[in-house]
Symmetry: none
Subunit: 131 residues, 4 copies
DNA sequence: GTGGTCTAGACCACT
DNA sequence: GTGGTCTAGACCACC
């Protein structure tokens, strides 16, 4: 029997590939401190089963994260959050990860000639979860 | 020889394809009213030369914009901003174009456990052009 | 018709995987300056055909080299030696790539209590191609 | 409680598996004559404890060495260096064990277009323990 | 049990 | 033409 629940959620029809969605989610979970150094990651097979995707797709995501140094392979055991990585990155580091998207949003607002205050209002609304 | 300058700027190494970058830029320039109805678009060949990209890539971008109704093909002359299209879209329409990116930024802030106020501060800074 | 020759040579039964063998060979060819910045790499399909292996295996090797920054993807065209990378690395850089293997060889000689001069003689012989 | 010291040193993150690292170390210690015929090997459990690895991994290494004839199982006592095996192998045998690594180093030097003399100089340096 | 590698083949996106 | 992604399934190595 396999675990049918997964900490990940993917949208198969999305623009960016499944493996990339997984990488991004893991990265944020670690950087935000929700996953601590040494914590085991869900196994490739369990994740593949739970999300109904191919194990290789999960494996590819994990391989990239290993290259990045965020997670480590423990042979015969599984993958774990890298010990070398400090738990819960400081606010500054987390803002750095958020920045690129906000930079793009700023560029777009400018091209659309939307006033900063109006762009800020929309963002505020979305941050509160109001659709 | 052709014009080596172009109103467009593309980044060949970017995540989204060149044709998409072109489409987005044209759309924003028109919607923001910087390009008015009847204005001629830079020719496919000039644009391709200036940006050192394949003419078919530019052509594909224009074709999509034509389908969208934003620009019109004037036989023997080139492409022009569609007359049917109201110049300078209302604010609401422009905010709709900005929304997807801000939605993504909101989702990322949440996953990174960044407080709304801090995310807003960063966005405000970027909107002011302060790097 | 496809190219049946390839600049690569692989040994399918080797200890390290095929994709790794490819990565190492490309890396050395570039670092040694035999492949210059901007040079196109053999296409994934051609290489796969010539070596009678799966295209994905070649693709995986290229993806790793791209991550490493040694080669660049030119969308719709193929892969090329990265322009950012200086052609023909200086001797020092090349020695750095050789060093790990020689360090291992030194450690093994020590454990086997082989005199330095005798280890050097063997290495000299092998460098001359004498089996 | 068991001995927390071990004559072995392993690197868990290395390319080659732990059991292989153990096999190679035992082999060199015996062939070099540092471990004599009849000497007892550290017990599987002690070694596993000291290195914080799975006992089965140590057991596998010992099993391979037994197959190789280098060590013998003494029922109820443990493993010992094989009596049948001549202590301190002749130089030729020890060079044979060193050869594969040097062959690889020679191939790499050639691909990197490093002159034999420069490769030899580096190896000489490393043999002297100068980092 | 764990992940890694490779294959064969399909489909997609880009130029 | 180019590479990218995913699938289904096999086999291997390691612990």
């Amino acid at each position: 029997m396999t675990d049918l629940f997964s900490p990940f959620s993917i949208s198969p029809g999305s623009a960016d590939p499944i493996y990339r969605q997984l990488v991004d989610q893991v990265r944020r979970l670690i950087v935000a401190g929700q996953w601590q150094a040494g914590d085991a990651l869900p196994s490739v097979r369990d994740t593949a089963n739970a999300l109904a995707i191919n194990p290789m797709t999960v494996s590819k995501a994990y391989a990239l994260l290993e290259t990045e140094g965020l997670i480590e392979r423990q042979r015969g055991v599984g993958m774990a959050v890298s010990a070398a990585h400090r738990n819960t990155q400081p606010l500054k580091a987390r803002l750095t990860l958020l920045r690129p998207t906000l930079e793009r949003a700023a560029a777009e607002a400018k091209q659309l000639e939307i006033e900063p205050q109006q762009a800020l209002d929309l963002y505020k609304q979305l941050l509160k979860g109001r659709p």
